[in-house]
């Protein structure tokens, strides 16, 4: 069999567009997931029982079903639910892109929440007590004392999760999203060049994820010395 690099070269502009979408999705899902994940972690650790029960239930639910199934839930059901809520005549068109963003934020929030919870719990009780003793309220002690330290402790794990997220975004393929893998597979099928295109995709994902994980390792060493 012959390996035709020309196919890849010709498709590069299109693939780059796909990669931009992949990166965009990764960044948005990370930031959104971090935001909601932190709220979820705080809710889970909250002393208000119902709040902590709801948060725990949500986190466990998201962590026990496959991401593919979550994508399907939102892709097929959100239009119908919105239609029934607004009373519109037809289900609104949401499309794979917006579905992916919403799904990934909601899914990753559960994973980030567990990381954040571990981070918050790693801060010694004395810190909280000291903050209260100084007269800070809950919100102030969280934003100024606990969360900055928790974020720092958890930074390597958070970044590793982001690398996993970067790889997981390839799953938008199942709802026909055109991310990097989606673009690759569209070209592969159009030109019947599956071997070249999928090998290329694997190499690109590997190079990016591997370099990022090396960076995380270096960062980890740096942080470990300071502590």
């Amino acid at each position: 069999m012959n390996f035709d690099l020309g196919v890849i070269q010709a498709a590069l502009p299109y693939l780059w567009k796909g990669m931009q979408y992949t990166l965009e999705l990764t960044v948005i899902a990370t930031l959104g997931g971090l935001f909601f994940g932190t709220l979820l972690a705080l809710a889970r650790l909250s002393s208000i029982k119902p709040l902590s029960l709801v948060a725990t239930g949500y986190i466990n639910l998201m962590r026990s079903i496959p991401l593919v199934l979550v994508l399907f839930w939102f892709f097929f059901l959100m239009p119908v639910v919105i239609q029934s809520l607004t009373g519109a005549e037809r289900p609104p068109f949401i499309g794979p892109d917006r579905t992916a963003i919403i799904t990934f934020i909601m899914f990753e929030a559960a994973y980030f929440a567990e990381i954040m919870r571990a981070g918050i719990q790693s801060i010694s009780r004395g810190q909280v007590n000291a903050a209260y003793a100084l007269g800070l309220n809950y919100r102030q002690s969280m934003t100024h004392i606990i969360l900055p330290q928790a974020f720092r402790n958890m930074l390597p794990v958070l970044l590793t999760q982001t690398i996993i997220l970067f790889q997981d975004t390839s799953l938008v393929y199942v709802i026909s999203g055109t991310d990097f893998l989606g673009a690759t597979s569209k070209i592969a099928q159009r030109d019947s060049r599956l071997v070249e295109m999928y090998t290329f995709a694997a190499v690109v994902y590997f190079v990016i994820s591997f370099s990022l994980s090396l960076l995380v390792k270096r960062l980890q060493k740096k942080i470990a010395i300071i502590r």
Partner: protein, 246 residues
Amino acid sequence: MAFNMDWDVFTQDATVADGPWWEYLVAGIGWTLTLSACAWVIALVLGSVIGTLRTTERTWVVQLGNAWVELFRNVPLLVQMFLWYFVVPEFIPPLKRWMVGTEPIYAQFMAAVLCLGLFTSARIAEQVRAGIQSLPRGQRYAGLAVGLTQAQTYRYVLLPMAFRIIIPPLTSETMNLIKNSSIALTIGLAELTFRSREMGELTFQFFPAFAAATVVYIVIAMSANRIMAFIERRVAVPGYIAGGGK
């Protein structure tokens, strides 16, 4: 909520198979579990071997093990699935002939088992390595000092303790594997998620279909968790590692 939900849909005839829809979904659960079980065996065997090799003193063996782990960890599972199904057979002509000649489901199953097994083996190798390295160094020295060979030290001293320590992370890897098996739907393997989507698309009853799949995944995850906790209790060394766990 106004949208119509028809829970009787499960007893209606499946348009794509003999029997009602619930039977069609149950057959999907069978594929999900069979796929996960086969992949799990491969992953555990390979992962243990590679994880152990990564703690030996031969540098090139360690590096080979590290390369294995990095390779499978840094390529998305979905891409690996495509590689095993579309790309690898192109380089192995006999395999290609077999895949073209046999029923598609066997070809899909084989590719999915290999893909999930090797992917998970890299993750288990990492757990096994961490487990062995978390043991006090004195254990290895003690084993060698009483005259055991290196292999015997691993077999009778290090591995029995390491495997007990890593049962909790192994549990979550097992659950990840079961969830990851849904990715086999991208190469057409009709496992649970595939079938629930098909049922939704053909009956327009997405909610009951996905709800059923979700409940099944939760039940499977909880059962896997219970089984592993049971094993953990059964094999706990009295007075060393707190028996039970969560």
